[in-house]
Amino acid sequence: MFATLLKQLSTLAISLLGLTILTFILSLQSDTPVHQFQSDSVILQYFEYLQFLLNGDWGTSSIHKRSVLKDFLQHFPATIELILLAMILAVTTGLALGIIASTRRGGWLDNTLMTSSLVGYSMPIFWWGMLLVLLFSLTLGWTPVAGRIDFAYDIEPYTRFMLIDTLLHHNQYGFSAFLNALHHLVLPAITLSTIPMAIIARMTRSSLLAVLKSEYVRTARSKGISKQRIIWVHALRNALQPILTISGVQISIIMSGVIITEYIFAWPGIGKWLLEAVSRRDFASIQGGVLALSIIVIAFNLALDFISIYLNPRLRRPS
């Protein structure tokens, strides 16, 4: 087990090395340099660059002269809120749909679910988001069009997580502010979760079907164990491995999806901040933002690797 952990950590180190080298090379091409280096040698400059990064000096925005890291951290909570809810939606709904489809293999429900997941999977997110706004916000009036909360609420940004901040203002507004924030969050989260949900549902179905054909499931059936128990105890645990792997890939899809989603819903997060930086050629912000998002993707995948090691006794306890 220790060896597997060490291997995971070394891949993390290599990914981070590659990532910083890449952003460093890109920063050398810029005509408005983000950092001022003392040495002439490129190699020494790279180490200086690493030092800047570790000291928290990720450059200063050329447009509004603010620290990039500070800007990033200010916008980040809104994005985390959106991503987390989207991921929870995608995983729970995706798993549920996949399980339902696999237990009714070949039936009308299976066919309907798999066809609609194919549609969901192929949907361009900007168009899908607009369609949702058109239907639920403009026609039906069920959800707000944009933003994180109504202007009527005056919320002090303690943590910058709107759901937490509104709960902290409980004395002032009761739960209405929290519910209002949640209300604003629903549609963007659904938009963002659609593609990963479809992929996870398809993966769950195929992985479960493979496991349900396996010999140990046949053994479990021969013991007279109920169908539900076979799925939840015997099959799902083994089917989870490929589902976890594919969820790791989803985080990068979500990261690019969140930029578009935030733009559609005027969500004041990283995506919107980055898009503005791109349109104004604010190089320091772009570089810092891309670096930070990549680190998050890498860290997320590492965490998933640890979970799958934990779930798989063959990795956890090699014979």
Partner: protein
């Protein structure tokens, strides 16, 4: 009164290229405490027949039988849920690959405990003691340690012992062993066989041994069924059948086994049957062995019936009687 009686058992598989008859009107019976063998090449339908009897066929298969009696219950007149209940409390089955037949994500103890819980149960402590007792019965002496381990940490032989312990937990009247030793080392093979025979005696548990190895059958079984192309082609008492096979296929199978010791002659070539086992979706007309059979003639395009002959059953127009030898 037999423990299990099956007549005209047929299993068809629905595939894209049509319906494939994997088992064709098989007839078999087994008494309490009896040891029987089923022998045949791969693809002869022996494993499918075992799965059909154990109620474990995949959804793509359809099964028909004129008679299916188990321990006095008529299984043809039941819903599939009721049938499954009767079967799982009377029949246990172990498979060829012990390691992949156990769930890799659950400990040996968990899987054993689960089986005990579904068959009788008791408190957690009682179940643990029962599990330890079962592990000891199948010859696993460090049961306390093995209880906490996963299948991948055990050898194939140990895993097969665990499978047998799990099978015993159901207190079955019939244990079907589908090539239980094929995937194991030779030394372990005989240990597992000895274990199965010992349990057969101690628990008066009938044993259906499915194999393609005559040497296993000759030592262990009272009665043998020979299968070819999904049909039972010959059945009878083991000693008689092995010493004088009536069906050309049985004879061919026996002749292809190498003999050592007294009968061993240097330079003697092993007999081998021409051609290969017919694929079940392209079975020959008439007798399925016809194209490969050295004794076949025109009459063999008529499908032979299974008929009784001197206390045995043979499916052949020209059974090999004494004068032919």
């Amino acid at each position: 009164m037999g423990l299990l009686q099956v007549e005209n058992l047929s299993v068809d598989f629905q595939t894209d290229s049509g319906i494939i008859p994997a088992v064709d009107s098989a007839k078999m019976s087994i008494n309490a405490g009896q040891v029987q063998g089923v022998i045949g090449e791969s693809g002869s339908g022996k494993s499918v027949m075992a799965l059909a009897i154990a109620g474990l066929l995949s959804p793509a298969a359809t099964m028909r039988a004129d008679l299916f009696n188990l321990d006095g219950h008529d299984l043809t007149r039941m819903s599939s849920a009721e049938r499954q209940k009767i079967i799982s409390s009377n029949i246990s089955i172990i498979f060829q690959e012990p390691t992949s037949s156990l769930n890799p994500s659950l400990t040996i103890g968990y899987q054993l405990d689960e089986t005990i819980r579904f068959h009788g149960g008791g408190t957690r402590k009682q179940r643990y003691e029962k599990a330890q007792e079962l592990l000891a019965q199948v010859g696993i002496h460090d049961g306390k340690r093995r209880y906490k381990e996963y299948p991948h940490q055990l050898s194939g032989g140990l895993n097969q012992r665990v499978m047998i312990a799990m099978a015993l937990a159901c207190e079955p009247k019939l244990l079907i062993a589908d090539e239980p030793t094929t995937a194991l080392d030779v030394t372990v093979q005989s240990q597992i066989l000895d274990l199965l025979l010992r349990l057969n005696e101690e628990h008066n548990m009938a044993l259906m041994l499915i194999t393609h190895d005559f040497s296993i059958l000759s030592e262990t079984t009272d009665k043998v069924y020979v299968m070819y192309g999904g049909q039972i082609v010959e059945s009878g008492r083991t000693y008689n059948l092995l010493s004088q096979p009536y069906h050309p296929y049985t004879k061919a199978l026996l002749d292809s086994v190498p003999h050592y010791g007294m009968h061993y002659k240097k330079g003697r070539r092993l007999f081998n049957l021409k051609g290969s086992t017919p694929s079940l979706d392209h079975l020959p007309v008439g007798c399925y062995l016809g194209p490969r059979c050295p004794y076949a003639n025109k009459k063999c395009v008529q499908p032979p019936e299974l008929r009784s002959l001197k206390g045995r059953k043979v499916r052949c127009h020209f059974p090999l009687l004494e004068e032919d030898k």
